[in-house]
Symmetry: C2
């Protein structure tokens, strides 16, 4: 039997090459993890004139963006060597999950020598993890030798939006086995341009939760990652070239309702279909950027629903108007807004968390929001980290926030 199997394995490897034979082979090694802690990227293209590496593993600099100034990537030139292989070696990298792409004669390309690639909204990026010991960030973002939770693509009905929609649900290790145990729930929201898969890919939510739970640093919990774009049934499943028939997708701006208005559909589905603990003490909500705004407004709309509220680099306007002109007094003097905020804090959430990068272009907005909290005496926990509007910070905030939940 062994011999048959060996042949099958050998054949299998051949078959893979065979099926792809008419594709040019990507036979460079990239990235290469050097013994000294540096990383070498390679890209083979003899005809290219200029090849650059664009990555958050490179030094960042303050850059003007459409909404303000923030720290951002600065591409570096790669050097051409023999056989048209372009390369670049970094300095020693700190433990982290890094993203990168190449820019070939001005055109964005991905590194097809590296099979690790994922999607941030419509943008594809390669990625890799650096980890040096079992206490660093890279460790928490990796699959380690611990019990693992499962991650499911789950469809649910949203009567408010008139759609059957998809979300991602993490159930902690032991959920399927411990059929009498009920769990608290964290609702974890993505940012603008993202979708229901963002936190489970670049966000490494399952790995962060697996590792924290295994070490006893976080309670076992269900994590629900819905799609915050209420014009979509799900990423990738309703668009020309995927399914012209699907009536689910709507034009942006033609949503039947907002994320906040449709949020009860999500909670209702989760609490009917999973073994959940009920009540505000067993529900958390947090989100990054646009999802921070969703979190802010959802918690305000349903003040006795969430005991734990987390705003990560939040695009949440409390003291500015909606037209991006700063009229700090508009919401501040809005009677209903102040009543809603009072109702939220009268319900005494166990934790209201605000995290922001010190060079995030939303820093000033978040500062103004904190000023409002301070003025009113509403308690919150604040974490300021270096860096801009980046995934690195959102993973840090999730790792931090998850340890505070349901204690």
């Amino acid at each position: 039997m062994k011999r048959i199997i060996s042949f099958a394995a050998a054949m299998a490897i051949g078959l893979c090459a065979y099926a792809q034979q008419s594709f040019e082979r990507v036979n460079t090694t990239s990235p290469e993890f050097n013994a000294d802690g540096t990383v070498t990227f390679r890209y083979r293209n003899p005809k290219a004139v200029k090849v650059q590496l664009n990555s958050d593993c490179l030094p960042q600099k303050m850059t003007q963006g459409p909404f303000g100034v923030s720290e951002a990537n600065v591409p570096v030139d790669m050097k051409e060597g023999p056989d048209g292989v372009w390369s670049y070696t970094t300095s020693v990298l700190e433990p982290e999950l890094y993203m990168y792409n190449f820019i070939v004669d001005g055109v964005k390309e991905v590194d097809l020598a590296n099979k690790y690639m994922c999607r941030d909204g419509a943008n594809w990026t390669n990625y890799f993890i650096i980890s040096k010991d079992s206490s660093d960030a890279g460790h928490y973002y990796s699959v380690n030798d611990t019990p693992h939770g499962n991650v499911a693509r789950v469809w649910y009905d949203s009567p408010t939006l008139g759609m059957t929609r998809r979300m991602t649900v993490y159930t902690p290790a032991g959920y399927d086995k411990n059929t009498k145990v009920k769990y608290p729930v964290l609702y974890l929201l993505h940012g603008g341009g993202g979708d229901e898969e963002a936190w489970a890919t670049l966000g490494r939510a399952a790995q962060i939760l697996d590792n924290l739970i295994a070490e006893g640093k976080a309670k076992p919990m269900i994590v629900v990652m819905p799609n915050g774009n209420t014009n979509q049934i799900a990423y990738s499943e309703s668009a020309p070239g995927m399914n012209d028939y699907n009536k689910g997708e709507r034009a942006l701006g033609a949503e039947a309702a907002s994320m906040e208005e449709s949020f009860p559909d999500i909670i209702k589905y989760v609490e009917a279909n999973y073994r959940t603990l009920k009540g505000a003490a067993n529900r958390g909500i947090c989100g990054l950027s646009m999802g921070g705004g969703h979190t802010f407004r959802t918690s305000l709309m349903y003040p006795d629903t969430f005991g734990y509220i987390g705003l990560f680099s939040a695009a949440a306007t409390m003291v500015h108007t909606m037209d991006r002109e700063p009229h700090p007094d508009q919401l501040r003097s809005n009677v209903k807004f102040n009543q809603d905020m009072k109702a939220l804090f009268d319900a005494k959430p166990k934790l209201y968390f605000i995290g922001i990068g010190s060079t995030d272009f939303l820093y000033d907005l978040n500062k103004a929001n904190r000023d409002y909290f301070d003025e009113k005496g509403y308690p919150y926990e604040y974490l300021e980290t270096p860096g801009g509007h980046i995934w690195k910070n959102w993973r840090i905030y999730l790792t931090h926030f998850a340890q505070k939940l349901f204690q």
Copy 2:
């Protein structure tokens, strides 16, 4: 409230662009689905000398591969237009899920203007679906307005392999709600170079099952898609650059046991953690290429376990030796092999299915296998389709086989 939300949405779109600002924008439209049923591909690269399209939507031709001659892709030249945008327009395409890549001056690249990209083992490919009406292949591979099953990444213990491993599990629509209902199980195996995600991506297994079940053409069933590479804990989670600490991954050839030997671990986990109907009448197994070989040998090793057995373009050697030299009499005259085959058919499987493409390089091998079945009088159903060793055929076989299961 509406105004806040509109601002948040606008901001969200901006944020996405912002975070990616230092990437060159991919501002071509590709693919474009023309009203006449043709498709135009575009790739912007003013400095490129030669750009080709490589796709299974183009005419195929017989090509020599490492194991034999099979129909395969033939790349076509794209034409450069204004602004360095290369383009190619196909003939009218039949309904199907198609894969494609570009070849830029001999280097494989993907189409980053098309957000639909997936992985076939270590190979990334863009894809799109053509569907014209609700009876065609493209329809069955799409998410339609029907109830949907969920797809989960599930970790299970494999004591035989000494690993905790990941598999993909489809539970049909209603599974979570109908908590008293038990379901039959199909074990669906990938091919060489693939992994536990192959059938859920290019295989469109969830969509095929959703659509067949919704139309009453297939029974609601659980579909289990394990990883057939017994050196891996899962795709992507244990390798340098993902997790150097993980001891799960072994060198190829250093597996603790074969897929066949470890298969009972999978069944045991599934039947302990899902609401399953037991017995051979409620278990099916099928697989493509290497997975067809796994299917053949697993069904032979456990003859009273599976009532439905499906070999899709199977790399299953029944009458050839393992050294690839045809010694047709070696297994044919092997006493244990003949006893095992007799035991399998004495258990009267409800269906033994063999599917193969007429230009598959494994055609002759499969013909020799069928000759053995015919000689022994073992009943099987045979489906021969045009084309080679390709996903198009494997989706057709799954669509066909699924309708025969558990009836």
